[in-house]
């Protein structure tokens, strides 16, 4: 076992193809960036890149929640409406409830304290609402046995109604500055660098621990190339990103939160029972059931996590727009599913990664961003997104066909 890891061998063509396949979407992303970079010199400006990443963060949160859903062989069509509903509720509470409640509750407190309390309460309430909606969907899908497609289609309609009900069909706003800060603010540049250095240190520490563990358990250590590639590569990416954003105003708050949530969720999917069980259920539900996995409970948890992610997306959306609109979150479910598919998540279940899906979300966000920079009409954006989705799945189909023969 593991005997051939250190052998120097020339990889065969099929091996090269298999390796390349893992990076297909990264190449596609780079290609899109290069094309837009040529077409418009502003594309690579720090300001535009900063906007680009901020724009992808909302779909990013939803996609992180959607991966385990699709991995278990389910789907959630309600995430757009739920995000909209949470954002509407957040704006409503900011404007009509907390704005009066906290000054009355805390007489003599400074205006800044009141803003902070109002923002924190709104965030907690939003996350709770999102989470509970996820639990409701999960309960119906897992324990009442109604297909996820139907349950979440109904959820999509119900919560779109909810958005209209809360907003009364009009814009509700503005939300206060402390609340906006979560979505619109930046990490001060020096702190950004400190965080980046901490992240790099953690990566290095993780690598060292991994090698020590492998040695302790009698496994061969990873090759030097691999260690360098993984730790140097990811460290460089983090530092490059921090540096680029520092050319503008610094790391965007929502992107930092997205990075943390994505790391946590990757950990959950690789290193916890919940993660393992999801992949097992998606891979073969019958075998998972016979192996004593509580498939219902697992699916319930997965949906509740999706709800929590929709809650976060709702907070970011409300803060980003500064108010709630009746169309908030419209069609986000489709962008989210597209991001998952682009990122290699199989709609058949059993396969998919958080990281891949974020690359997928970045691809769609880049297309939209690049095309609006070029002042192309909005209809082109829709068409381009649709075509890219079909092409991406076709590549996937082709590579699977290639692997079989």
């Amino acid at each position: 076992m593991n005997s051939d890891t250190n052998k120097i061998s020339v990889p065969s063509f099929s091996q090269i193809r298999a390796r390349l396949k893992n990076y297909t979407m990264i190449f596609a992303l780079l290609l899109i960036w290069i094309v837009f970079g040529f077409l418009n010199q502003n594309f690579f400006s720090a300001r535009n890149l900063s906007n680009l990443f901020r724009q992808m963060s909302i779909i990013g949160f939803l996609a992180i929640g959607m991966v385990p859903i699709i991995v278990t062989g389910n789907i959630d069509l309600s995430v757009g409406s739920v995000t909209g509903f949470v954002s509407a509720l957040a704006a409503y509470f900011q404007v009509y409830v907390f704005a009066d409640m906290f000054p009355a509750l805390l007489p003599g407190a400074s205006p800044a304290t009141i803003l902070l309390f109002s923002a924190l309460s709104t965030i907690i309430l939003s996350l709770l609402v999102g989470y509970l909606i996820g639990c409701l969907h999960g309960y119906i899908v897992a324990y009442l046995g109604i297909p996820a497609f139907i349950v979440t289609l109904a959820g999509m309609i119900v919560f779109r109604g909810g958005v209209l009900g809360v907003t009364g069909g009009e814009n509700v706003g503005p939300v206060n500055d402390a609340f906006k800060f979560v979505a619109q603010g930046y990490i001060p540049i020096p702190i950004g660098y400190i965080l980046a250095i901490i992240a790099v240190a953690l990566i290095v520490y993780q690598q060292i621990r991994r090698q020590m563990n492998r040695q302790r358990f009698g496994l061969e250590r990873d090759s030097i190339q691999r260690i360098l590639f993984v730790s140097l590569g990811s460290s460089l990416l983090i530092l490059l990103y921090t540096w680029t954003m520092s050319q503008y105003r610094g790391i965007q708050n929502p992107v930092l939160i997205l990075f943390i949530v994505a790391t946590l969720m990757t950990y959950v999917s690789n290193n916890t029972r919940l993660g393992r069980y999801s992949y097992a259920i998606g891979g073969n539900r019958e075998a998972a059931q016979l192996s004593g996995i509580n498939t219902k409970k697992t699916i319930f948890y997965i949906f509740s996590l999706m709800g929590l992610m929709s809650g976060i997306a709702g907070v970011i959306l409300a803060g980003y727009v500064g108010s709630a609109t009746p169309l908030a979150g419209n069609q986000y479910e489709l962008d989210t599913i597209a991001a998952c598919v682009l990122g290699g998540t199989s709609l058949m279940g059993g396969e998919g990664t958080i990281l891949g899906t974020l690359v997928g979300a970045l691809i769609t966000a880049s297309l939209i961003n690049g095309m609006s920079l070029m002042n192309l009409d909005i209809f082109w954006q829709y068409m381009a997104k649709g075509i890219v989705l079909v092409v991406a799945v076709y590549i996937d189909v082709l590579s699977k066909r290639g692997a079989k023969s």
Partner: protein, 508 residues
């Protein structure tokens, strides 16, 4: 070919990788007769029928088949061609569209049309005619799923006979039916015969053989043992023709030390989820002792798998009965409950039920036991890997590494992975459903050896098997099941192939 023969089969050979499914099979069928085909599980009956009905093509087997005076050469679109020639088959599993009516099903794909539209009145009146011809009391406009399983089976037969069928093959048509429904089916077969349609009737049930067949061909290990008029057989000769073979396989020696009763099942009755009128298990009572290998024998469709699945909480609705483990009553409602009570099931079909094929060997082995490696939320991956390696080694899984996908392994190695997974979960009672099906002799022997070792360590094993040799070679006691009922429990000393088969075919 003589005029009175409808089918003449000469020296048919068919091989699958590692197995010769048919060896020089030769026999002929009289026009207008009901011709029975009997044989043990795996004797080659189904393969033969698949050749006749066009599932396997002419160039996939050797030998000559004469049908109705002409040589049968089925190539592309063979299933359709076989139907055109007049050969039709009714499988054990129903092939009707459940949401459509009886008439729509019978005329599916050949609807009578009038000016481009379906002529419904003609369709239903012709359906009525067909149903009357075979004296079937079924409403042509009834929707299939509202009918009982027995009536659906009859519709299927009517559908087959609606065309120009000359030879109808019935593959164990009664396995899903209640006794009343079986009677009606028998009468229908007799009506078919009087209408001049030849039937090939595959069954294990001796009662049915003697009631309706004129001639019986017996297959054993892919070869025809004999073909004789039914009147020349008795229960005993028929059984001995089916099983009469030397023990060829080798089994490891063991010296069983049986302890107390570990598992006790009392008056266990389960409703069949596919046919609510039927019990998939009826009043089953048995016990299994510590360190014992408890064999369960029964023909396909006897309800052996269903019984085990129901015990495991994963089949049908329990109507009555109790399960005791170490004397304590255990209400088992799911695989989880069963595992907590100390059982583990290695299911019949490792590919669709036992393994997650796209995942690594490692993940497959540890998935039921992740709790042991987890502290708080985190799975200790190194501990997981080490443990999985130990068990993979114990089961002698052959693979380049544990990170290889389960789908890339051979059948025998896949089964060893499933067994490693079972052992890691450390059950008191290990249930093996046909554990050596479709795997090579070497891997079989390794699995037997492992079973011996486990029972020596005090584990109890329940083994279902299609192979009588395996049941006799490995078990301490043998329970024979037929039609969901426990017929008898034999000590291995008093059992032989004839006795088991005698009980399994319901001859007692």
């Amino acid at each position: 070919m003589q005029e009175n023969l409808i089918l003449d089969i000469q020296k048919i050979n068919k091989s699958f990788p590692g197995v010769r499914a048919l060896k020089d099979a030769t026999f002929s069928v009289q026009r207008g007769s009901v011709h029975g085909i009997c044989g043990e599980n795996g004797a080659g009956k189904s393969t033969l029928m698949k050749i006749l009905s066009g599932v396997y093509l002419k160039d996939e087997y050797t030998g000559v088949i004469q049908f109705d005076g002409k040589e049968l050469r089925l190539k592309e679109n063979a299933i359709h061609e076989a139907k055109e020639l007049g050969i039709d088959i009714v499988y054990q599993e129903l092939a009707l569209v459940p949401k459509m009516t009886v008439g729509e099903n019978i005329f599916l794909g050949k609807e009578p049309t009038h000016a481009g539209r379906i002529d419904w009145s003609s369709l239903y009146s012709r359906t009525q005619e067909i149903l009357q011809r075979y004296s079937l009391d079924i409403n042509p406009q009834a929707v299939i799923e509202t009918l009982s399983v027995g009536k659906q089976q009859l519709v299927e037969i009517a559908k087959a006979c609606a065309g120009k069928t000359k030879l109808l093959i019935l593959d164990e048509p009664t396995s899903a039916l209640s006794e009343k429904e079986i009677k009606i089916l028998m009468n229908t077969v007799k009506t078919l015969k009087s209408n001049g349609i030849t039937c090939i009737y595959i069954t294990h049930k001796l009662e049915e053989v003697f009631e309706i067949t004129d001639t019986v061909t017996i297959l054993r290990d892919g070869a025809v043992v004999t073909t004789k008029p039914t009147s020349e057989y008795t229960n005993e000769t028929l059984i001995s023709y089916m099983v009469g073979r030397e023990m060829t396989e080798r089994f490891p020696k063991r010296d069983p030390k049986l302890g107390d009763v570990v598992l006790r099942v009392e008056k266990f009755t389960v409703q069949d989820p596919h046919n609510p009128k039927k019990h998939s298990s009826h009043d089953a009572t048995f016990d299994v002792r510590k360190g014992e290998i408890f064999g369960i024998a029964g023909l396909m469709g006897s309800g052996r798998t269903e019984l085990i699945r129901a015990l495991y909480g994963e089949y049908g609705t329990k109507l009555s009965g109790n399960v005791f483990i170490n004397g304590k009553i255990k209400p088992i409602k799911s695989a989880q409950d069963a595992m907590k009570s100390g059982m583990f099931l290695v299911p019949e079909d490792r590919k669709t039920e036992g393994l997650i094929l796209q995942q690594s060997i490692l993940k497959n082995i540890t998935i039921p036991s992740l709790d042991i490696f987890s502290s708080f939320f985190r799975i200790d991956k190194y501990k997981e890997l080490k443990t999985a390696q130990t068990y993979a080694k114990k089961m002698a899984v052959k693979a380049p590494s544990l990170y290889v996908k389960a789908s890339t392994l051979s059948g025998g190695n896949q089964q060893k992975v499933v067994l490693a997974k079972a052992l890691l979960s450390d059950p008191q009672v290990l249930i093996l459903d046909d554990p050596t099906r479709g795997i090579d002799v070497g891997a079989k022997y390794e699995i037997y050896k492992q079973m011996v070792e486990l029972t020596n360590e005090g584990m109890s094993i329940i083994m279902i098997s299609s192979s009588l040799e395996e049941i006799l070679g490995m078990s301490d006691r043998i329970m024979v099941i037929s039609e969901g009922k426990v017929i008898t429990v034999l000590d291995s000393g008093e059992a032989n192939q004839e006795i088991i088969m005698h009980h399994a075919v319901g001859a007692s």
